[in-house]
């Protein structure tokens, strides 16, 4: 059973490697949204600094949402999903493997470039580790939750914007606590309370999201 988990993980990572755009695009999208803000809002350093945490987090959230849209779609289009559903291993495990592979390629890389974005927006260097930590926990949580939306809409021709619609409300708590953590860090106060809360969200998502997404997948496919 663990073997199937590892196989799916390996395959998805390999497919991702082959199509560099898979993991490169969300990254560039993220950096672009961040870069648009000084252009559209104001290039004044102190105003940027005040917005930095929020903007980076919104950009990350949107990047995750968009990238996740394709999580099951390409497998659906070429019939692989059908075959995955028919393997004897529990489907929620496979979903978890897919989400993990996807997160390694998008969420994790986001965390790696987040410092660049933070510097672009003038975020104090002291707050950057906290920003990265919240992104590390938060993007995984968001990926898991978005997987539910992606699974629900996989059979639809144009689910593109339906996924954000469905999953965004569920991301708002993560967003609020994560940005609060960064802002607290900017004023030098301890943030462990926020981080504990984010970790709790992650645990919840790890427990329930794969189950819900698996149920949604079965449903989406049975109509075909």
């Amino acid at each position: 059973m663990m073997q199937v988990f590892a196989e799916v993980l390996r395959r998805d990572l390999r497919v991702g490697m082959r199509q560099a755009s898979d993991w490169l695009n969300p990254l560039v999208f993220f950096l672009m949204v961040v870069a648009l803000v000084p252009l559209a809002v104001s290039p004044a350093p102190e105003r940027l600094q005040a917005m930095a945490a929020g903007i980076v987090w919104i950009a990350a959230l949107l990047a995750v949402l968009l990238a996740m849209d394709g999580l099951f779609r390409s497998d659906f289009d070429d019939g692989s999903l059908e075959q995955l559903l028919l393997t004897p291993a529990p489907l929620s495990l496979l979903v978890l493997a897919k989400v993990l592979a996807h997160w390694l390629q998008t969420g994790l890389t986001l965390v790696l470039v987040a410092p660049v974005a933070a510097l672009l927006l003038n975020l104090p260097v002291a707050a950057i580790p906290v920003l990265c930590l919240t992104l590390l926990i938060g993007t995984l949580t968001m990926s898991l939750v978005t997987a539910i939306g992606a699974a629900l809409t996989v059979g639809l021709r144009r689910g593109g914007v339906l996924v954000p619609l469905i999953s965004l409300p569920l991301h708002i708590p993560v967003l609020i606590f994560a940005t609060a953590a960064v802002q607290t860090a900017m004023s030098g106060l301890p943030v462990s309370g926020f981080l504990a809360l984010l970790a709790a969200f992650l645990v919840l998502a790890l427990l329930f999201a794969p189950l819900a997404a698996a149920a949604a997948l079965r449903l989406s496919l049975s109509g075909g």
């Binding site: 539910i148 639809l156 689910g159 469905i166 409300p169 819900a212 989406s220």
Partner: protein, 254 residues
């Protein structure tokens, strides 16, 4: 646990076929529609014309007569949606999906109403239409959830599939309800804390809370009546190819 569920099911089962529910809803409908009409008329006249102005807020407080029932209906409606979701996912009852389709838009409308009335009330009391505090935000999330559920219900070519997809989302979204309810206690908010408790006497003067109570029950009756009516409509629509609906239509009763 399982046997308990089965026993419960044995009680519910006979009433939940679309046909029986259609009849049942038809019989229940007047029991909600008439009280709704009477209570709302009474409540509006009492609340708007008879109840005295508030010593602090003047007449603007009268929004409360719409605002509070709407807010509770928005949450209650979502709870109903979740209940329908469980019934349709666990027991595979077709009727539950039809009722959910009736509840969702009605709940969304009341959610919207609560937001609008709240915003309008905010201007005179807090000096602004909108603030981003916990209760207001979580209520906005509830509206988004309603919209997501409705979008999913209509997104699929096959009706039953859309119903199940929406049910899964409705269940996931239930986490938002306690957040709305307890946000005023968990966070410091601009918004009023709870004043009504089932166990305590309200702190409001009776000439204000009595009309509020009337409006509250009036709007709940209205909500149920609308849901019953729409469910009947949806049932007939969905079951139009069945023999019993054809007979119904032939008799001119649908």
């Amino acid at each position: 646990m399982m046997t308990l569920l089965r026993k419960l099911w044995a009680v519910i089962e006979p009433t939940v076929s679309p046909r029986n529910f259609h009849d049942l809803a038809g019989r229940l409908l007047p029991w909600f529609a008439w009280p709704a009409a009477v209570l709302l008329l009474l409540g509006l006249v009492w609340g708007l014309a008879i109840a005295p102005p508030d010593y602090q807020q003047g007449n603007s407080y009268r929004i409360i007569f719409i605002h509070v029932p709407s807010a509770s209906l928005a949450m209650g409606g979502y709870l109903m949606l979740a209940a329908c979701a469980v019934i349709s996912l666990v027991w595979k009852v077709k009727t539950a999906d039809m009722v959910a389709r009736a509840v969702a838009p009605a709940g969304a409308v009341f959610c919207f109403l609560a937001l609008i009335t709240g915003a309008l009330w905010g201007k005179p009391t807090w000096g602004t239409y909108w603030v981003w505090d916990a209760r207001l935000t979580s209520m906005l999330i509830l509206l988004f959830l309603y919209m997501g559920v409705i979008a999913l219900q209509h997104a699929f070519d096959e009706v039953a599939q859309g119903g199940k997809a929406a049910a899964i989302l409705a269940l996931v979204g239930v986490v938002n309800l306690p957040i709305i309810k307890y946000s005023v206690e968990w966070w410091n908010t601009l918004h009023q804390g709870s004043t009504f408790r089932i166990t305590e006497r309200p702190t409001m003067p009776p000439e204000m809370y009595l009309p509020l109570l009337v409006m509250f029950f009036g709007l709940w009756c209205l909500f149920v009546a609308v849901v019953l009516m729409r469910s009947r409509h949806i049932i007939v629509q969905r079951e139009r190819r069945t023999r019993w609906v054809r007979e119904l239509i032939a008799e001119g009763r649908a």
